[in-house]
């Protein structure tokens, strides 16, 4: 029965003390969120660390959850902020302001994975990962939120605290660059 519930209803049930509702919700978003983070930071260990932090924040915010937006928007918003914190601590170019719309665009792409790991991965997947890694963080995030989170432009705008047109523009640029890198595979 709970499997048919919406994400928001499951989260409300968990807020009211239903642990099983959380388990269903977790199964729905575990892969999406993990892959989103993995492609964002390019490191599996870092992705797991960020992944755990984000879910712990979801659990901590259980008592104050209100379905003002979709659950996907809410959890990816948490992911967005957690990534920003990571970038601020680890990025070479320090962010001056949090509300800087161009801040994410200025963050350089993550470094390539170690050569020892490249052999373990599928060639196409590697090329996709490399193509995503070459994108600016904001464009990459926009693309991944759309593809992994199944979010609309409006949801992405709400999650990233930006305007819809900004998101649309980032998406356009991201698709254009990816297409240029993976054209032979399309």
């Amino acid at each position: 029965m709970e499997q048919d519930w919406s994400d928001e209803r499951l989260m409300l049930a968990y807020r009211d003390g239903d642990g099983a509702a959380f388990e269903h919700l977790y199964q729905r978003y575990r892969t999406k969120l993990y892959r989103h983070l993995a492609h964002q930071c390019g490191d599996a260990r870092l992705a797991e660390e960020l992944y755990q932090d984000i879910w712990l924040k979801v659990i901590a915010a259980r008592s104050t959850y209100e379905p003002l937006a979709s659950f996907a928007t809410w959890i990816f918003r948490i992911a967005h902020h957690r990534l920003l914190d990571h970038y601020r601590r680890n990025s070479r170019d320090a962010l001056t302001t949090y509300d800087d719309e161009d801040a994410l665009d200025a963050i350089p792409a993550p470094e390539h994975q170690e050569p020892s790991r490249i052999a373990e991965r599928n060639a196409i997947a590697v090329r996709i990962s490399d193509a995503l890694a070459a994108l600016p963080a904001a464009q990459r995030e926009t693309f991944l939120m759309a593809e992994t989170g199944g979010m609309t432009l409006e949801d992405i705008a709400a999650a990233t605290s930006t305007g819809r047109e900004t998101v649309k523009s980032r998406m356009r640029y991201a698709l254009s660059k990816l297409r240029g890198s993976l054209e032979d595979l399309l």
């Binding site: 642990g19 977790y26 992705a47 797991e48 879910w55 712990l56 659990i59 593809e147 698709l175 254009s176």
Partner: protein
């Protein structure tokens, strides 16, 4: 043929999406899943509600307040002990005779009146005192009991504690009538006469024996004690004992006694007797050699 351009204006590219999803990989580990699910269930466990700090400290506060209150009460009791009836009731309860208590309470008043009257009569009566010095002491009269007091005063007097000592320097017995004035007082004879007139009225019913006894004791207390210059401070009992031994002296005899002490070189005793004489006869004109 131009390559097919995917519709990207709407924010999506189906071909890329398909490529991305077909080659997507990566999932969280089982350990990570278990840790997150455990944290989610632990968050649902009821936590012991912490009481506010003022509730947690309620018992210690109560104990401290009780201790402080007890200490304050103890200190207050020590500084301001309550007046008990025992200290005031005992004399009343043990007072055998309310009449004696009345006499003692009114003795002071009577003595004051006598003093004032004696002062008035002292000057004209001085020559008479010399002639009467050799006379024996008038018989003790019950009439020298204190003058009648008003009913209200009598009740108030009955509630009083035993009277202060009489005017005579050695303190008298508690239940005493005016004593020193009566004794060898040739000076106060006129006043004594007036006293007797007054005292005759109400006091006839009073028993004479206790009065006489008290008077004799107190009168002898007023007389100069045997010379004993060694002890500057003498107890009442000592003085009373001496008074019982020495006979009653008139004022003139007392003065002559003082002169004798001086001649004998007992200056200290003479001075003490002189002081006692002045207390007994404050208005008496001392001879120049004794001033």
């Amino acid at each position: 043929m131009t390559p097919h351009k995917p519709p990207i204006d709407n924010g999506s590219d189906p071909a890329l999406s398909k490529l991305f999803h077909e080659n997507a990989s990566g999932e969280p580990s089982a350990t990570l899943d278990a840790a997150i699910l455990a944290a989610a269930h632990e968050a649902l466990a009821p936590r012991p509600r912490q009481r506010p700090w003022w509730l947690r400290l309620q018992a210690p506060f109560a104990v401290a307040a009780t201790v402080v209150l007890a200490v304050m009460l103890t200190l207050t009791m020590e500084h301001n002990p309550p007046e008990t009836l025992e200290s005031g009731a005992k004399p009343e309860a043990s007072d055998p005779s309310p009449l004696e208590q009345k006499r003692s309470d009114s003795a002071v008043n009577a003595e004051k009146r006598v003093q004032s009257e004696a002062a008035q009569a002292a000057k004209p009566a001085a020559p008479e005192a010399k002639t009467k010095s050799a006379e024996t002491l008038p018989p003790p009269k019950p009439a020298l009991a204190p003058p009648p007091a008003s009913p209200a005063a009598e009740s108030a007097l009955a509630d009083r504690k035993p009277a202060a000592p009489p005017m005579a320097p050695p303190p008298a017995a508690p239940a005493t009538a005016p004593s020193a004035f009566e004794a060898p007082s040739g000076v106060a004879s006129g006043a004594a006469g007036k006293l007797s007139e007054r005292a005759d009225q109400p006091a006839k019913a009073e028993p004479e024996a206790p009065l006489q006894k008290a008077r004799s004791v107190t009168a002898m207390d007023a007389a100069p004690a045997p010379a004993s210059a060694a002890a500057p401070v003498r107890s009442r009992s000592e003085m009373r004992n001496e008074a019982q031994i020495t006979p009653r002296l008139s004022a003139e005899e007392w003065i002559s006694r003082i002169r004798q002490l001086r001649q004998q070189g007992q200056e200290a005793e003479a001075t003490r007797q002189l002081q006692a004489f002045r207390k007994a006869y404050p208005d008496y004109n001392l001879p120049e050699d004794l001033r």
